[in-house]
Structure formats: C-alpha cells, structure tokens
Amino acid sequence: MSNVPADLKYTKSHEWIQDLGDGTVNIGITDHAQTLLGDLVFVELPEVDSEVSAGDECAVVESVKAASDVYSPLSGTVIAVNEVLADTPETINQDAYGDGWLIKLKLSDANELTDLLDANAYEEVAAEDH
C-alpha cells in the first residue's frame, strides 16, 4: 500500500497539501499518484506570481505512460515552483512528499483548507481506484 503521511491534507485527484501555518502551503502529487503514473519524464509548472483558483489546472506531470493534469486544491498566488523538476522529474518518483514538491502557494482564502481530505479519507480514495 502507498505511503500516506498523517500530517498532510489531500484531494480526491491525488494532490497533497502541506499547511505551513503562515498562510502558505506546499503542493505535490501523492505517492499513490506517482506509482500509478510510473517514471516521470516531464513536469510543466505555472509561472511564479500567477494566480490560481481552487480546481484550476496548475501543472502537468507526464510519465512514460501518461500525461496527467494537476489541479490546484486551493486558491492563491504561486510564490515558488520546484525548479529542479525541469531536469530531474524523477525526483517525484523518489520523494513525492519531500523533494518532489511542485508549487508553493500563498493562500487567498485559508478557509478552503477545511475542504481537504485527511490521511484516512485519502487512503480510502486511493484504495478504491487501485
């Protein structure tokens, strides 16, 4: 079974969110998602300073098997993107929850955090589409 850290939040579309507690979050794709995709070979990230709304397509991760859109789980401003992924997209396969993060967002509405799934709820989602 995939690794689902208890201190993160999740979405049904397999993104994880780390609440940094200062109105910003890190966002990535889950270990389950990277396992399903297989070896990642390209990652397209948004521009820094761009605005995203919850549910918007904000990145594309492409593996040998398939291209997959990443949806922003929250609304806000992109304040950083993980530049190393341009050269080493496999970082996501190796460390989906750490070095394989995708974007850092400054939230425009922290209340949206309450809409996210906790680890238990996400484990059920991941088990269903296994």
Binding site: D39, V41, V64, A67
Partner: protein, 360 residues
C-alpha cells in the same frame, strides 16, 4: 487472472508490477522502467519472454514451405543455426505476424512468433503446411529469457553450462547454438548485443536467479518497449497488422523480391503496391520540445494527415520519439497534435539508438 510463465513467482519476488499482456500476467517494471532501460544500454538486463510462441516445423519440404509462407527467403540461410526475421503475409499483402525463423537442419526449422497472435498464427501455419506435408508442433514446457546489453553475453557465459558457453562465445550475430535442451540465439529486441535463451521451464528460475546474481537486472515490458522503439524495431499490432503491408511499415528490407519466381503468399498484392510506389510510409519522429509522443496522435505533413503508431519517451535521447505512418513526402518536418496543440517534430529514419549510441 491470466496465463503465467514459469518465471511468474520470480517476478513477484523481485517486486514486479504485473500487468495483463495479451492474456499473460507479465512484469511491466520492477520499480523504474527508465533505470531498467539504461541498464540494458550500459550493462545488462534480462526479460522474461516465455509468453512468446515456439514452433517446430519439420518435413522434407520444410524449406519449400517456408519459401511460400514467408516474405523473406529462408534459402538465404546457409549455415545451421542461422536466424532470419520475416513477415508472414496474407493474400492481400497484410502482415499476419512478424517472426524469427532458425534453420536447424534441412528438414527442421524453429520459429518464434508473437504471443498475442498465437492462435491465428498456429491455425494459418498449420493450414498452409498441409500441402507440403510439414508438421507444426508447439513444444510444451519451455521458457525463454532474453539477456541483453553490452555485458550480457559475458555475464551469461558465467552462469550457463560450460560446454554451451564455449559454443556461444564464438557465435556470430543472428546465429544460434543448441546444447542438450538449451538453445541460445544471439538475437534480441533491444538494439544491443545479447542472447535469447530457450530452455526447459523447470530450469528457468535457476537461470534467472543465476543471471541476477551475476549482476543482470530484471527488466519489464515497459523497458522492452522503449528499447525496441529506440532500436527502430516494429511491434506487431501497433506498427503493423493485417491491413498494413510491410512496405507501409518500414519493412521493405525484409521482403526478398529475388528470385522473382518465388511465389510467396501476398507477393502479388505487394508487387502491385510497389509498382504504384505506395502512398504511405513509416518514419521516425523526434520531438524537440517538452512532452511525450503517444500512440494514435495525429500527424500533419504538408496538410496531409498521418498517425503515430508507437510513441514514447526515449531515455537515451531524453526526448520523445515515435514511429508514424504518414503520406509519402520529402519534407523533414511535421506537426503532431498533442493535448489540443500542434507541435513541431522532426522526421528521421530509424533507428534512433544502436549498441548504446544515439544514431540520429
């Protein structure tokens, strides 16, 4: 649950991700298909190809039979153990399957055909063989392991029977030797040197584990696909099928037109196509930008439409590559429709990679 090869338990033990492939439960990868790919290009990897079909064709007229059945000409095989790659065509010139045939003796050829086409191949070959009194047997209880890469032969020599290793050491490319129940062909589907070893199923796990202990990495169908694509090798059912002639599949080089009086099945149809100079060809594509080319994406060449037959990412080149069937045209560029956008790709002549080196 699908069919399982004698190595299924070994795959599970080595943490394979198992997928269905033509009714067989086969390893897709053992963690990372890209690392497996690189290992074959740089050192050695092994593939379980026991799902493929081995046929033994025997009879005094077996040479005549195969000269009728196949678009390539087995009369080219002068040395025992020599292999020949060929298409087997229907009367319309479409490809029923592509295969390798080994000249074992004057009354005996061994043939290896694809797994997914097993039933129709055996039915077709058996039907055509009757007129030549050739018997078609499918030996049971065999396994097949492909060991591929620049260090594959050396590593295999360390673990196979000593007498066989001696014979194999002097083997030329595209030749095979047999020792007892083990058959070693210096062939493959990766563009690297190596062997395809056919042996009794009961001995397969021992050989697999011995190769593993000699440093040969288990590789799945994922790496097998990117390796063969880089090597410019077609995949049956994807790059060609019964509606496609070898001339439209980049396989004209496998058709033996001489001697002109050899009346192989499908000859009339493809002679006509050859006379009209055809309309479509199979080419290689390289994408310069980001993204991965995928099967069935549309290709536009000077306003005319074609299609990608096999698209993927080339780990060796670090770019997306593909085979595409396109209208004949001299242009070197085309556009591919990817995820709603048209992007530029270069038209090239495969292979993309051979013996570890980029050739584009």
């Amino acid at each position: 649950m699908g069919n399982k090869t004698p190595l299924y338990d070994a795959h599970v033990k080595h943490d394979a991700k198992i997928v269905d492939f033509g009714g067989w439960d086969m390893p897709l990868h053992y963690g990372s298909q890209i690392e497996e790919h690189h290992e074959v290009r740089r050192s050695a990897g092994m593939f379980d190809v026991s799902h493929m079909t081995v046929l033994e064709l025997r009879g005094d007229r077996v040479t005549d039979f195969l000269r009728k059945l196949l678009a390539n000409d087995v009369a080219r095989l002068k040395d025992k153990g020599k292999a020949l790659y060929s298409c087997m065509l229907n009367e319309n010139g479409g490809v029923i399957d592509d295969l390798i045939v080994y000249y074992m003796d004057d009354d005996w050829f061994r043939m290896v055909v694809n797994a997914a086409t097993h039933d129709k191949d055996v039915a077709w070959i058996t039907k055509q063989a009757q007129a030549f009194s050739v018997t078609v047997d499918e030996p049971e209880g065999l396994a097949m392991i492909a060991v591929q890469g620049p260090e594959a032969r050396d590593k295999a020599h360390q673990v196979i029977d000593k007498a066989l290793a001696e014979k194999a050491t002097s083997l030329k490319r595209f030749h095979a030797v047999t020792d007892g129940e083990t058959f070693v062909g210096r062939t493959g589907y990766t563009g690297e040197d190596g062997y395809e070893i056919i042996l009794p199923a009961s001995k397969a796990v021992n050989l697999w584990e011995a190769l593993y202990n000699a440093g040969v990495r288990p590789c799945g169908l994922g790496a097998r696909d990117t390796l063969r694509l880089e090597a410019g090798m077609n995949l049956y059912g994807t790059d060609m099928d019964e509606e496609i002639s070898p001339l439209e599949a980049g396989l004209a080089w496998t058709v033996a037109w001489e001697p002109t009086d050899r009346d192989f099945i499908g000859r009339n149809a493809i002679e006509q196509q050859r006379g009209q100079n055809g309309t479509r060809k199979l080419v290689g594509l390289i994408l310069e930008g980001k993204g991965v080319l995928r099967n069935h994406q549309k290709v536009f060449v000077n306003g005319n439409e074609g299609e990608i037959t096999s698209g993927s990412f080339s780990p060796t080149l670090g770019k997306a590559i593909a085979f595409a069937r396109i209208p004949k045209d001299e242009t070197q560029q085309c556009e591919v429709e990817m995820r709603g956008k048209r992007v530029l790709a270069q038209i090239v002549k495969p292979p993309f990679v051979r013996d570890g080196k980029a050739c584009i």
